[in-house]
Symmetry: C2
Subunit: 150 residues, 2 copies
């Protein structure tokens, strides 16, 4: 039996010692804030990512898109359906191979991408406001170098 608890400060040094825990906390904060910024544009984080890659790689196939986004092909189907329904991309046909699609952005998709890119920049300006521009670059570069052992 324990005496009544005096209100004492809860600490998490055991967890904060690890890079991973700080990364998780930061990522969840980013994810939530980003989702809010994208919602106004009718995009989710993954559909935003898909649109970004399709814009940059016109006529990419769904399988190649899956590889680029590191998700399964079955997940891409839903994603592409979503973007196609919103008239942001179209499933073009490939001459000489009727199995695959050639995904491209519509003019509306290009415009939406421009708007989304600005929205995400605004989101990052907000969520990383405590960091200087140089610190943000450093953070991005360090994160970009994290890789699983191959």
């Amino acid at each position: 039996m324990k005496k009544p608890l005096e209100t004492k400060e809860i600490t998490d040094r055991n967890l904060r010692q690890f890079v991973g825990y700080n990364m998780k906390r930061a990522f969840l904060a980013v994810r939530e804030d980003l989702a809010q910024h994208l919602e106004a544009l009718g995009l989710r984080m993954t559909s935003f990512s898909a649109l970004a890659v399709i814009i940059e790689n016109p006529d990419i196939s769904q399988s190649r898109l899956a590889e680029a986004l590191k998700i399964e092909r079955s997940g891409v189907v839903v994603l592409v359906d979503e973007l196609e329904s919103a008239d942001l991309i179209e499933r073009g046909r490939v001459e000489g191979d009727r199995r695959q699609y050639a995904l491209r952005a519509t003019p509306a998709g290009e415009a939406r991408w421009q708007a989304a890119e600005k929205a995400v920049q605004a989101h990052e300006d907000g969520i990383f406001a405590a960091l200087t521009a140089e610190e943000r670059r450093t953070l991005k570069a360090l994160l970009g170098r994290v890789r699983r052992a191959t």
Copy 2:
């Protein structure tokens, strides 16, 4: 109709320009690798986190634990059930308030924490091998400063 695709390199500069995308990729890599390291100890990421906080804050209540981990109280119930079933923690009673529990680690829980701490350090040595010790410290510090606007 598109001509047959020559195999061209897929790029993702549109996404890599953002800190958040690099963070997502890094976090997913960390999460997967960490899960593997913890599996051998019978812990999931969240139960590891809960154990860490209970060890550091003996006699913490479930509601306080929920706040510390930024999850809902309903989620803590499952987490605490899990740790209690494994005999790593116990639900102590509080003198003067029969609503709440006083969570504490058992000796086995203390031992498991020691092992888990080492395992996670080993995991981080592996996954962040491409970074110097100083870069890891920098990364941790920068991540720790990311906060949602209040």
